[in-house]
């Protein structure tokens, strides 16, 4: 981008910005394209959520009909999981992993581009269903037999299957690319024990993608065969099993939660030390906990199915495994807090959002332990309590961390700083709006309000909680408006950032902002976990102590 202007290319031969974006194989441009595309889908999903809250604000609202409401919650969930959460994290990974390990690009740049376009067009294909007779209305989990031809005769379910298949293949391609890049392309001296924690978590994340996505692909192909060729896998009228779909879907769907949150953990593990001016507390235990989470997450899927009527032995096993996953997760939270303890804290925007992440994710984790307790789950399953729980985990976890990451790495990507005053407005509005939206859902859920209902009768005591929730959506909308204004103003007239605006320690800050297409002129030899600290402090380098 800016470097192109300084080269001697004849202007007529220079490809337009559009052509550059379409033809690029540079991991940095692809990373930004991922972020932009997921931002676009985020707007769509946010709009869908707002419409649902508009309908639920009063009993008997009648603003949306039930079919539209089904389409909205299906598309909101599908979009947030597949077209926002994962691509935004893959985007950060794409941008940062090669820079952090001192590589010139990903291992397979063209496969990388293919992965992005498969995700993007998979998303567009899913959204095209709106113009082709109706959007999917089966929930993001696509439970059988709702997806069977008997209950879903139009093409909407086929769009859901095909869109997710296409983008899923793109995600798997990205996963293979990440593992290969991290295993084979690290700078000289960067052993696995010196890998930045974000890269560690992207590695475990990519392995989870590789193991968990193909079962979803297989299940979706079976469903497609059911719908198109008359097979009976999930056709309950011909002996097919709704339970098999749930097992296969959640065998993907549960690790997916960790696919969505591990890179977020990685971002926090990079940001908290820099803004505490301390090395991370217990690097080894953070990395080991990541691997532990990766393993355990593959064995807990049936905790989504306590209410389905499995044997109590199975319930107990999966409840136990779910409690177990709290251990490595807790280790991480303690490590972050211990890093903060005694640090010289700088409360810049990335740190603010990291602290927001820590507190909100903690709340989501605690309700997670409640839900892992089978009797409590039986009581509140499929109520708004569950909706509140997973929004505290996925929004309070992933989205808050992504916001922290955005404020932290935006100067690297654009070469310009974001305005701190607007950033603070953004943070406090988002924190307030988030809690106002999802906090009351705990109470609505405990009072028995089921999820996925399009309307309700007055007198159950749900009205006030729903009104608060809807109010919260408006505050959140304002928060994101502030963010977009901030980004727009910064791109136009923001303060130049310089190579290393936060005085950070990992390799991506050792090169220009934005980096040249080849990333590094000279790749520094890595001798510790904080290579840039070593360069800045030759008198007192880390490798003396590690």
């Amino acid at each position: 981008m800016s470097t192109l202007e300084s080269t001697n290319v004849v202007p007529a031969a220079r490809p337009s910005l559009f052509e550059q974006c379409v033809t690029t194989v540079d991991h940095k441009v692809l990373g930004i394209l991922y972020l932009l595309a997921s931002g676009l889908f985020f707007l769509a999903a946010g709009l869908e959520a707002a419409l649902m809250r508009w309908q639920l604000m009063q009993p008997h609202a009648g603003k949306l009909d039930p079919d539209t409401f089904n389409e909205l919650f299906t598309m909101h969930g599908t979009t947030m999981v597949f077209f926002v959460g994962m691509p935004v994290l893959v985007g950060f990974g794409n941008y940062l992993v090669p820079l952090m390990i001192g590589a010139r690009d990903m291992a397979f740049p063209r496969l990388n581009a293919l992965g992005f376009w498969l995700f993007f067009f998979g998303g567009l294909l899913t959204y095209y269903s709106f113009f082709a007779g109706g959007a999917p209305d089966i929930g993001w989990f696509g439970y059988a037999p709702l997806t069977a031809y008997a209950f879903s005769r139009d093409t909407s379910t086929d769009y859901w299957i095909l869109g997710l298949l296409v983008s899923g293949i793109g995600t798997v391609a990205a996963g293979i690319n990440f593992v290969t890049t991290i295993v084979t392309m690290r700078a000289p001296g960067m052993t696995l024990g010196k890998l930045p924690l974000f890269v560690w978590m992207m590695l475990v994340d990519a392995v989870l993608i590789i193991v968990a996505f193909p079962p979803l692909t297989a299940a979706q192909i079976m469903l497609l065969l059911d719908r198109s060729l008359g097979a009976h896998f999930f056709d309950t009228q011909e002996g097919g099993s709704a339970l098999l779909w749930q097992h296969l879907f959640w065998f993907f769907g549960h690790p997916e939660v960790y696919i969505l949150v591990l890179p977020a953990f990685g971002m926090i593990s990079e940001i908290v030390p820099v803004f505490s001016r301390k090395v991370i507390f217990g690097y080894e235990s953070v990395a080991a906990a990541t691997v532990g989470i990766g393993f355990i997450s593959l064995g807990v899927w049936a905790h989504h199915m306590f209410a389905v009527g499995m044997s109590s032995t199975l319930d107990a096993i999966f409840a136990g495994a779910t409690f177990l996953i709290a251990v490595p997760t807790g280790i991480k939270v303690f490590n972050w807090v211990a890093t903060l303890y005694g640090g010289k804290l700088r409360l810049d925007s990335p740190m603010l959002f990291s602290l927001g992440f820590l507190s909100m994710f903690l709340l989501g984790g605690l309700t997670g332990i409640m839900l892992a307790t089978v009797p409590i789950d039986w009581q509140v399953t499929d109520t708004y309590f569950v909706v509140a729980h997973f929004h505290y985990v996925l929004f309070g976890g992933t989205i808050f961390a992504v916001m922290a990451g955005l404020y932290y790495w935006f100067p690297k990507m654009s070469g310009r700083l974001l305005d701190e005053r607007l950033a603070r407005w953004n943070f406090w509005l988002l924190l307030a709006g988030f809690n106002l939206t999802f906090g009351p859902m705990h109470f609505a859920g405990l009072l028995g309000m089921p999820r996925r209902i399009y309307t309700y009768a007055e007198g159950n005591g749900w009205e006030v909680w729903n009104q608060l929730s809807t109010l919260g959506v408006i505050v959140q909308g304002a928060a994101f408006l502030v963010l977009f204004v901030n980004i727009g103003r910064s791109l136009r007239s923001g303060k130049p950032a310089g190579d290393d605006p936060w005085d950070a320690w990992t390799l991506e800050w050792a090169t220009a902002s934005p980096p040249a297409p080849y990333n590094f002129e000279v790749v520094p030899e890595v001798r510790s976990r904080r290579p840039l600290w070593d360069l800045k402090h030759p008198d007192d380098p880390d490798w003396r102590y590690e």
């Binding site: 293979i176 290969t180 590789i210 996505f213 009976h232 896998f233 011909e238 002996g239 296969l248």
Partner: protein, 203 residues
């Protein structure tokens, strides 16, 4: 690597003809996704094995003779592709082409056997993917395996053509070993299917 250095590499050291670390890691990852994919299909096959619904069961319609011939084809082809990879590691262009062609022929043999088996099932026993859950699970599982055999054979044909055109010189011969890994994997899946689908159905 340009042509000059490639020739030097070929003449000085055979070790450099092996697949690159990147290729190896990526192929291991890819095969892991494939293993997860087939595991899901196999689990689904077994899930419905006892209760396939009204209509023929595996034990009633599956025959062991044809898959036995198919197994011979595939096991032999694992050997011939190993010979192709050995020729590649020695930089022998003609040897690679010859052993890959033999492997493709064996793959085609396997596909013909599968075709005969399917014809018998469809026309004599009237089992299709819509008949019952046995039909659905069987054709999906065996069909995806046959699809992988087809893809492997097509990949080998592409490699043969690239060698013929000279696009894939000795420096790129490492890829033959990776194609071999894929092929061994496809053969390995078949051995599992032999037990899960055909041995289970033995009366």
């Amino acid at each position: 690597m340009n042509a000059a250095t490639a020739t030097t590499a070929a003449s000085t050291s055979h070790a450099e003809l092996g697949p690159s670390a990147r290729g190896k890691v990526a192929m291991v990852c890819f095969l892991t996704t494939e293993a997860a994919f087939f595991s899901t299909l196999i689990v689904s096959y077994l899930f419905y094995y006892r209760n396939p619904g009204p209509g023929p069961t595996a034990a009633e319609v599956l025959d062991f003779k044809l898959p036995a011939i198919g197994t011979v084809c595939l096991v032999t082809s694992s050997l011939t592709i190993a010979l192709a990879a050995r020729a590649a590691s020695r930089g022998q262009r003609d040897g690679v082409t010859r052993w890959l062609l033999v492997t493709v022929t064996l793959a085609i043999g396997f596909l013909i056997v599968t075709g005969i088996e399917w014809k018998g099932l469809i026309y004599d026993h009237h089992v299709t993917i819509t008949t019952n859950l046995f039909g659905s699970t069987y054709f999906t599982l065996i069909g995806f395996h046959a699809g992988h055999v087809t893809m492997g054979a097509m990949t080998m044909l592409v490699v043969i053509e690239l060698i013929r055109r000279g696009t894939l010189g000795p420096a790129g011969f490492g890829s033959v070993e990776l194609v071999g890994w894929y092929w061994h994997f496809v053969d390995g899946v078949w051995i599992v299917l032999l037990f899960v689908v055909y041995f289970l159905a033995l009366k």
